[in-house]
């Protein structure tokens, strides 16, 4: 112990304290501060970049989810649209059928009416013609009958005979 205390040099202690003090101050000012600051800055930068990447990933996920949602909605909308279209189609078809039926009926009725009137006209015409023909025939027959005297007399006799019967 005495040896140790004897070896202890106050001068060396003083020099060491002085030099270490100066060394600490210079190193802190010119080395440790800039080094630690840039290390922190760099680590902060890396952390920020990682955070940004993470955020971007989340954003991507959100976007994907959004697009999926949109897709789903679009699909649903399409289904609705298709359904509506089908319904519209059916209603149009049935309406068209009804209209066509109605129109057909109407046309048929009109046709029937026309036919009827045509028939009537035709019958009337036939009747007229038949009458004419009958008259002509009767005329010819009468002319024929009256061309010879016997016959004319005979006819008068017949007619008179008929009248008697009546």
């Amino acid at each position: 112990m005495e040896q140790l205390l004897n070896d202890f040099s106050p001068g060396l202690f003083f020099m060491q304290t002085l030099i270490l003090l100066v060394l600490i101050f210079i190193l802190v000012k010119f080395a440790w501060k800039p080094i630690l600051n840039s290390l922190n800055e760099r680590e902060q930068g890396i952390q920020d970049a990682l955070d940004a990447a993470e955020a971007a990933k989340k954003e991507m996920q959100n976007v994907t989810a959004d697009s999926e949602k949109l897709l789903k909605e679009a699909r649903a909308e399409r289904d609705v649209l298709l359904k509506e279209a089908r319904e519209i189609k059916e209603s149009i078809i049935s309406e068209a059928k009804e209209q066509a039926n109605a129109e057909g009926d109407k046309i048929i009725k009109q046709a029937q009416a026309a036919i009827e009137s045509e028939k009537k006209a035709a019958v009337a015409e036939i009747k007229a013609q038949v009458a004419n023909l009958s008259l002509e025939i009767a005329e010819k027959v009468i002319k024929e009958e009256l061309s010879n005297k016997d016959k004319q007399l005979k006819l008068v006799d017949d007619m008179l005979g008929d009248i008697k019967l009546n």
Partner: protein, 393 residues
Amino acid sequence: MRVLKTPFVLATTLFILLFSNGINAKSQEDKKEGAVNTKEEVEEYILHHIKDSHDFHLFSYTNSEGERKHIGFPLPVIVWSSEGLVTFMSSKFHHDDSGHHIVEASGTRFAKLHGKIYELQPGAESITFDEEHHATNATKVLDFSITKSVLGIVLVGLLMLLLFGSLAKQYKSKKVPTGFGRVLEPLVIYVRDEIAKPNIGDKKYRQFTGYLLTVFFFIWILNLLGLTPLGFNVTGQLAVTAALAIFTLIIYTVKGNKDYWQHMLWMPGVPVLIRPVLAVIELAGAFLIKPFSLLVRLFANISAGHIVVMSLIAILITMKAEMGVVGSSLLSFVLSLFITLIEVLVAFLQAYIFTMLSALFIGMAVAEHDHHHEHDEHGHDKVDAEDVRGNYI
């Protein structure tokens, strides 16, 4: 690569400069002086090495004329004597360490005795000793010399300024350093993330990290420097480790918050009668045990390492008679290689432990106690400290 080159070239230039200076300053001494051949001389040499010295001695040899040559260079001696500040080069002592060689400077006489510089009382021509070999007519002076340790401290300081200054400069132009900075950066991050943050806490670590980084690299580089054949033993000097420990002590005493002082002086949650007793224990812990554990651990580990390595190298000499030249050389080489490898690990470990414990002590002083779990929190802190202390004592 450029970053690595600059300090390296500078260090080399400095070394060559000093070394060439040393060759001029080499002195001729007695034929036998400095030769280490016996067990006693080995012991003395090791003990001498462990101490600080006033000149930078590299090696000695005997030349063809039988003269003993010392290769090294002198360092400036700066002492505060009765005549004020006196400076002269250590070469004036001519490697004398026994107090026989008297140096006259600025009207006072100085002698060097066991690594310490004594000022002779006015009128005295030489030192007289009492029975215990203590000087009777000379007093120790305050010695601010640029000793070998101070030189080592200054060199390491400059090296750190160069290394970390250039690393700091790199960040101005790029995000990731290149060259040697790529090696330094993980070390800085290691100290910040493994030592400062976990022990002090995320909120407050920043203001202490500068100190912790400085101390960590300072101790580590000096420990490693101590393993080189240059023979620095800076972190094995009690004065150096004491200064380091006192820095930590001052930091955690000044920065200690209200909770820290309350827990130290008037512990809440224990019977009032026990509180003064605990206060005494806590005060002793904070002002004596903690700094002592820091300074003695570093000092003892590094000194012991130096002694062990040198003793193993000395097997070369001490076992020569028993094992022959080849046997002792081989044994010495294998053992010292093995121990030196361990010492490389110890160099890092001691720097880590010193910094880690400093961070732990600071962390305990600035910890914010959650008042809902005050007792738990404190108990947890104590366990932490004891755990770590137990592991490394």
